[in-house]
Symmetry: C2
Subunit: 253 residues, 2 copies
């Protein structure tokens, strides 16, 4: 079972989009996939058409130990999903911050989980308690990276933080993948920065880049993955090819 955190402190770089569509791609390749929405803004949850603000059983109940993971899992489109609740005012965060072993809540609640080939964790754009819970639970991190001006500077901050988490909380943690997202070959900057990323992170950068594709942005407003919304568009092709590369690369290691 591969447990993978999809993480980047930068906003809007494609964490949620990747968690959903990589997850859906892996499911289409017959893998058993669980997606965990760890973001109090609940974008992943809403992107499946699930009304996060109405939910009674969410990842917060799991983290606070009120419910078991089997009680909170929703099955949809061949995927299993642990949804988030919408928490605009930070109440859940406050409760979690006051709990004992707050960095390990997720790890402990998912201790006995089985039956999945992949568990993907959608992290919020912050290096805080939710991301930390993902990073103490997993062995792998995938970083969606938008190849724009100052992207590498952002990476440097992220790498420092991962290093600290590794030393302090989880020695097994590794960055095992970097995914170039929202790639547009016509943008000269995208090309130049991608070349720099290839140089620094050759073994980690996936060959498949996810191209900018309007259908990818539209699918969530219909509660669909890219494969249901527009199965033949570039977005679907790219995410399916990424899923294949993720499986192959994992099989090699």
């Amino acid at each position: 079972m591969r447990m993978i955190a999809v993480s980047n402190h930068k906003g809007g770089v494609g964490k949620t989009t990747t968690t959903i569509n990589l997850g859906a791609g892996l499911a289409r390749l017959d893998k058993k996939v669980l997606l965990v929405d760890l973001d109090p803004q609940a974008h992943l949850t809403y992107s499946f058409g699930i009304q996060a603000h109405d939910l009674e059983k969410t990842v917060f109940d799991l983290l606070m130990g009120k419910l078991d993971y089997n009680d909170v899992i929703i099955k949809k489109d061949g995927l299993s999903i642990i949804p988030s609740s919408l928490d605009l005012s930070g109440d859940y965060k406050k409760k979690l911050m006051s709990m004992d072993r707050r960095e390990y809540l997720l790890k402990e609640r998912l201790n006995s989980i089985n039956g999945y080939d992949f568990v993907l964790f959608d992290c919020p754009p912050a290096l805080g308690i939710f991301t930390l819970n993902a990073l103490t639970t997993v062995k792998e991190i995938f970083i969606p990276l938008q190849t724009e001006f100052l992207a590498l500077q952002g990476m440097s901050k992220l790498l420092k933080w991962v290093n600290i988490v590794q030393k302090k909380y989880n020695k097994d943690l590794q960055i095992t993948g970097i995914i170039a997202t929202r790639y547009n070959h016509r943008k000269r900057l995208n090309k130049e920065i991608l070349e720099k990323v290839e140089k620094y992170f050759q073994d980690k950068l996936f060959h498949i880049r996810i191209r900018e594709n309007i259908a990818i942005a539209e699918a969530p407003s219909f509660g669909q993955t890219i494969f249901e919304y527009s199965p033949h568009c570039n977005g679907a092709v790219d995410y399916l090819n990424l899923s294949k590369e993720v499986i192959e690369k994992g099989d090699k290691n």
Copy 2:
């Protein structure tokens, strides 16, 4: 003198791009403009080709009371700029959090500032101590808004926070402008969400929308504003028209 915070907790929606190019547009209309980089990732600073990590005199020295604002201002391309230093590890933030009246440091340091028509504050993607310092200093907030799925949910969180800041710290604070950024009329979602925003925020939404334009993303990697990099492109046209609308709307009130 109009002091305006450019703020949105969502990442990558065009805060820095707008602070720079709205500021530059206002300067082209003969206004005296000061830009303040309040983001420890120093994107605005780097976007002018200024090496934030090498600077000795930055907004942090101002906030900590070590230097006067006149000591830290840099003049460039007809603009005055208070640069940020690069603070990846959060050291400056820790120091500021431990200071007395930490929410009012900026307000007090800029107390006697004069000679400018516009002071624009580029805020980081977080509702934390830096944004708070901007919001206790200004009377106006401009919100760059990317019209995509779940944009309105993000707005709702931002509005709640502004409300709290208004009651607790600054009764004069008002959201006086919402700017639709990275607009692409071909994206059906952009259109639909823009219509919803128009309904809820009619008086605040600027008529000018900033269209998605490759040149806007390229200009910073040359240390230039859009007006120097590509004076006739859509990006330059939009930001100049936005500057005119900002002036007119302000003259009416």
